[in-house]
Amino acid sequence: MAEQLSWKVGGQQGEGIESTGEIFSMALNRLGYYLYGYRHFSSRIKGGHTNNKIRVSTRKVSAVADDLDILVAFDQETIDVNYHELHKDGIIIADTKFNPVKPEDTDAAFYAVPFTDIATELGTSLMKNMVAVGATCAIINLDVSVFQGVVEEIFGRKGETVVQKNMEAIQQGYDYMKENMASGNSALELPPADGNKRMFMIGNDAIALGALAAGVRLMAAYPITPASEIMEYLIKKLPKVGGTVIQTEDEIAAVTMAIGANYGGIRSFTASAGPGLSLMMEAIGLSGMTETPLVIVDTQRGGPSTGLPTKQEQSDLMAMIYGTHGEIPKVVIAPGTAEEGFYDTIEAFNIAEEYQVPVIVLSDLQLSLGKHTVDPLDYSKINIRRGKLVKEGIPEAENKAYFKRYEVTEDGVSPRVIPGVANGIHHVTGVEHDETGKPSESPANRKAQMDKRMRKLDNLHAVFPEPVYKNAKHDDADLLLIGFNSTGGVIEEAMERLEADGLKVNHARVRLVHPFPTDEILPLIESAKNVAVVENNATGQLASIVKMNAGYPQKIKSILKYDGNPFQPHHIVNSSKELI
């Protein structure tokens, strides 16, 4: 029996590949298995090879598997592009419709199954995906009845007949495979799961849910891959709390509308990817200069320019930390899992209001779009902190003196009053200003206001929850692996293998990317014999940040991947061994 199973379905984009994976995953998730799915797709509506690789396990998995157990192919390209991932006990099941050819150099078993023919006989070739799901069940010895609930949910509104037909397609796929499969391949049978109910979601769902839990009332956004799911979720949910999503004319409008709404006293945000973030840079400076809270989600994808819009990359890091002209206090948080995406998004809104700064929640395509099983989210951990927000009780000033919205205070944070509040009138401008917001070019005032703004984040390291995730049990590690965002899962898996080979490996995943938590990470760097920063970009951006803050430029090496695909464990295992 396998502890886990790696299953991939592939074909032409637009022929239901995604929904095949979706139905398969949903049913297994409900049985209590942990799922981790990663979609390979292109920036077009129809056509082009697409595949959905899904890992099923009885314990939590957070990385794309190295190898493959079952490959379901709806075209020859799926076989040709992916068969090399199959191990020797793996199986290819391919639709007879395209006269599939088995590659010569594989030990994997090969079955041509009449997916389309069976489906067509049942009424429509659209159900070929269901036949494939049924055939898969036969291989892994899974009772097809587990699909009843899922099929009812998806097709229920189309009527009872459609539900029955789809279930029949699954059953016939199962029966066909059972009859034709060579017996005794128990290596692909899954042990039973614990039956616990868990969430199954993409990272963007978790971020959107976090925004909702944080009390967001307005999201202003412009569609872009891989961020759009955040606005798509919230357009359904925000009306239930009196709010809405506005699809703006561009990303500049999105971010400035969010700034206006925050200035107006509500929690508002936007989400985009690299190209959108590039357009938002001037406005981020406005938020920093006017000390208006702002949250932006950046779901990184392949850059530069349009780059690789549907592929994994982590190359926005420097732009997110340093982007916008001039100098402002800014926070960049990089969740590594969907759970963190939820909690960190809530925290981003709290920090934005408490410190009156722009906060960027940095994600990446693998985290944002990878669909996986998520541990229960804890309602009691949701808290809302609005900092020095003043909504009433301001005494009347003499001679129309403005409220000191930018009062120089010890912690740098000034009381923030919102429009509509009596006696709180002040000016807000991106021009350098005095304590009441009125423009000022006085050198003494400039220095006082600059210093005030820049010291606001001095204590953030002390209060931010877990600035660095550490799995570091060794005082004398042979290797310290450092990463951020979605690479956390694959690093953990590589660690296990390296440890099994006798190496002592520590892992540090930077969650608060800026301001950089040097004190948290420095001892781990100092005590490790070797240090490698793992990241999906070509120039080693995180490595540069680490060196800049913690030193050790010779000791810190890079493991990089920037071909558009995520790391798999073997990449990191092999590169680590070469470095040591």
Binding site: A214, G243, I246, A253, Y263, A283, G430, P439
Partner: protein
Amino acid sequence: MATFKEFRNNVKPNWCPGCGDFSVQAAIQRAAANVGLTPEKLAVISGIGCSGRISGYINSYGLHGIHGRALPIAQGVKMANKDLTVIASGGDGDGFAIGMGHTIHAMRRNIDLTYIVMDNQIYGLTKGQTSPRSAAGFQTKSTPLGSIEQTLSPMQLAVTTGATFVAQSFSTDLKDLTAIIEAGINHKGFSLINVFSPCVTYNKVNTYDWFKENLTKLADIEGYDPSSREIAMNTLMKHDDLVTGIIYQDKERPSYQELVKGYSETPLSEAELNLDEAAFDQLVKEFM
């Protein structure tokens, strides 16, 4: 009830003596008092340029943002607090060059706010370059041989883009301008008010005298009906856009906020942010 003096603050504008923007400032202050506002219920959101400084010269809440982006900021403010009166303002460069995309979409969207453009047909703060409102042939530092681009007509554009309130005025005509701003504030939806506000330093063509000579008051055109788009377009074309008054108004179309499904009846800025546990559990279940 507040008087217009309560909308004055103690800041001295840094505009040139004789600048048309002084009158626009006075008209906003008078209109705000006339419609019964108190200073804390008014938010003036402005862009960058000489005219963008106006939010700092009125005793009200105000935000002086970035070049060309007054409108999206203003729309965000209004969405956050529907009880505020929101005025966006800036120059012709701000609204019709760098910010033109936002202007068009704000008109389509129809969020209830008043956008006042101080149109001097030139870039003043950067010391005299051409604007989209400059006439063809207009000589400036950036067009020493005369502008070879077509003049933009914001009023015709507004009428065809779906704006529900389109008006034009002249800064010296304080009474008319005040009345138009009042009408704009009272209009339930997006109001565009283009105000000819001469630049006495850099525009030696479109001067006070030039406007006095060339402007036609719609009130003087017998039977002018601002509810007709067709009449509005014909009149604008006939007079080369040089008319003042309410050019077009659609009183029927609901504002954006009235159309948003589920939008809060009370200002969102007053909402309790906590999501209750039952609602949260339901959201979680949907992912299982």
